[in-house]
């Protein structure tokens, strides 16, 4: 007979016995609420302390309260809103165009062998060329106006949309297509009920990458040459050594990114509700 070892822990709450063996925990344990925000708060605190004690030279990075003041001034004279609207429209147009083109190409390429032969090769080649390397050519073709900027963003966006939507389409299991055949559904019903919902997870993943790509392209085209927009505001401030305005611009970019990402997550929650219940 084996000997009984003493219980590892004996907790007695309100006279109710709770004796159980407890193993030493090796995993990190339960997560901390609002944990993501604590790191940010710590970083902000370090900035405040650094500026207040003079450890941080204002020429390197302005004091946080100056940034807040500058933001107030920029909002008061309307420059910030104006730049934000300009940049926002640029990014949205480029994103919209890129998403449309990427999705349509992925559908054509995913649903027909001829489409795949014609489209997939060129897209894979385009994928290996960084979009930003195309800017000199685009400037020659389209000038330095808005069309060049929107097209550049669209070119950066359509690749992840195409890749992930196409991948999503191709990973729909063949057995579902077989089922659809036995149910005698039409081709359009097949696309509507099987292909599009089946490719939706891939598309939404692509969309999240696309949003990041669109902001990256936006920053580059605005810094290269622009007479308006957040990037223009930052470039101008850089020439005059105004780190406070640069920081305001960066904060706006961050807000744009976070907002866009949350929007995509929201869409994901709505569109993939059949999956969410699985995760919970």
């Amino acid at each position: 007979m084996t000997t009984l070892t003493a219980p590892a822990r004996a907790v007695t709450t309100a006279g109710v016995e709770d004796v159980r063996p407890v193993r030493r925990r090796l995993s990190p344990g339960t997560s901390i609420r609002f944990g993501g925000l604590i790191g940010i708060a710590l970083l902000l605190a370090a900035w405040v302390v650094g500026s207040a004690t003079g450890l941080l030279d204002p020429r390197t990075l302005t004091e946080p309260w100056t940034v807040v003041e500058t933001a107030g001034t920029l909002i008061e004279n309307g420059r910030l809103q104006e730049s934000l609207v300009t940049s926002g429209i640029r990014a949205a147009l480029g994103l919209g165009l890129g998403v449309l083109v990427g999705t349509v190409l992925a559908l054509i390429s995913g649903l027909s062998r001829i489409g795949e032969v014609v489209i997939d090769g060129p897209v894979q080649v385009k994928r290996s060329i960084p979009t930003l390397a195309l800017i000199p050519l685009l400037i020659l073709w389209l000038g330095i106006g808005e069309p060049m900027k929107v097209i550049t963003i669209a070119l950066a966006v359509f690749v992840p949309i195409y890749i992930h939507t196409h991948n999503g389409l191709r990973s729909i299991e063949g057995r579902y297509a077989e089922l659809a055949e036995t149910l005698d559904v039409t081709r359009s019903e097949f696309v509507r009920h099987v292909v599009l919902p089946g490719a939706m997870p891939g598309f939404l993943l692509g969309l999240r990458f696309a949003v990041t790509s669109s902001l990256l392209a936006l920053v580059v085209v605005e810094v290269i040459n622009a007479t308006s927009g957040i990037g223009h505001m930052i470039t101008l401030a850089s020439n005059y050594g105004q780190t406070d305005i640069i920081v305001v611009g960066l904060v706006v970019y961050a807000l744009l990114g976070v907002t866009a990402d949350s929007a995509v997550r929201l869409i994901e929650r709505k569109a993939l509700s059949w999956r969410r219940t699985l995760a919970s």
Binding site: R175, Y176, E178, L179, A180, E181, T182, L183, D184, V185, T186, E189, H193, V194, P197, G198, M200, W274, R275, T277, L278
Partner: protein
């Protein structure tokens, strides 16, 4: 139903069917088979005997497979697969009525779900159902189309033993109501005897054994006739030492596992 009428107009007529996946040899080698309207046929056979190939031929799902022969099937054919194949992104009712072109598709879908015991689960997602419930939904999806021929490829193979027994009862009831011709592919001899009017054993790509089941009323494994039939079918399938038949110990007999050993 009068038996002479059955013989005159079969629901399924297969003549001299050949199918092969490579040059080495055929999977089906000149198979002939008739199934009468409303007749429940169970198709037994070892792994690789061609039973799934035959079912897929009847379902029209063997595009690109080399072969010759003649197949006549009714206009309305439904297939039930081993997996339920419910689209995970569609709610149960939408899965059942998928591709159903009728003004009252939703009502018919609800009625079919009620028939299989899934009333009230119309708005559930497929993954919220248990394995047995998913297969019930798949049955509803087939029956809502009023099939003249129901093809079932080991539909209960992935279910646990208790659920399988319940599904047998359900399938028998449904078939009595809807009267489709049924071809059930299975490797479970008991399942074949409990459900079918006729059992066919496939071997080497032809029908090796074809017998009406003469058991009356409630088919019980305790019935000596049941045991005799079971032993005969098992021997047709090449299993002689049926230790499952020993008294006091009886479970489903899965040929796939034993034939392999």
């Amino acid at each position: 139903m009068a038996s002479y009428a059955r013989e005159l107009t079969p629901a399924v007529k297969v003549q001299n069917l050949h199918r092969s996946f490579n040059e080495a040899g055929g999977v089906l080698n000149g198979l002939d088979l008739d199934i009468a309207p409303g007749e429940f046929v169970a198709l037994l056979g070892r792994s690789g005997s061609g039973k799934s190939t035959l079912l897929r031929s009847l379902a029209g799902l063997d595009r690109g497979v080399a072969g010759t022969g003649r197949i006549e099937v009714p206009e309305k054919v439904s297939v039930v697969f081993q997996d339920s194949r419910l689209l995970p992104w569609k709610r149960v009712l939408d899965n059942v009525t998928l591709g159903l072109r009728a003004d009252d598709a939703a009502q018919r879908g609800e009625k079919a779900l009620e028939e299989v015991g899934l009333a009230g689960r119309e708005r559930a997602w497929p993954h919220e159902l248990s394995g047995g419930e998913q297969q019930r939904a798949a049955l509803a999806r087939s029956l809502v189309r009023d099939p003249q021929l129901l093809l079932a490829d080991e539909p209960f193979g992935a279910l646990d033993a208790l659920t399988r027994i319940r599904m047998h009862t359900l399938l028998r009831t449904l078939c009595e109501v809807h009267q489709p011709a049924v071809l059930l592919v299975t490797h479970d001899v008991d399942e074949a005897i409990v459900l079918a009017d006729r059992v066919i054993v496939l071997d080497g790509g032809v029908v090796r054994h074809d017998a009406q089941i003469e058991l009356d009323g409630r088919r019980s494994v305790a019935d000596p006739a049941f045991a005799r039939l079971r032993a005969r079918l098992l021997s047709e399938l090449g299993v002689e030492d049926d230790h499952d038949a020993a008294p006091g110990r009886r479970t489903g007999s899965h040929l796939g596992e034993r034939a392999a050993s």
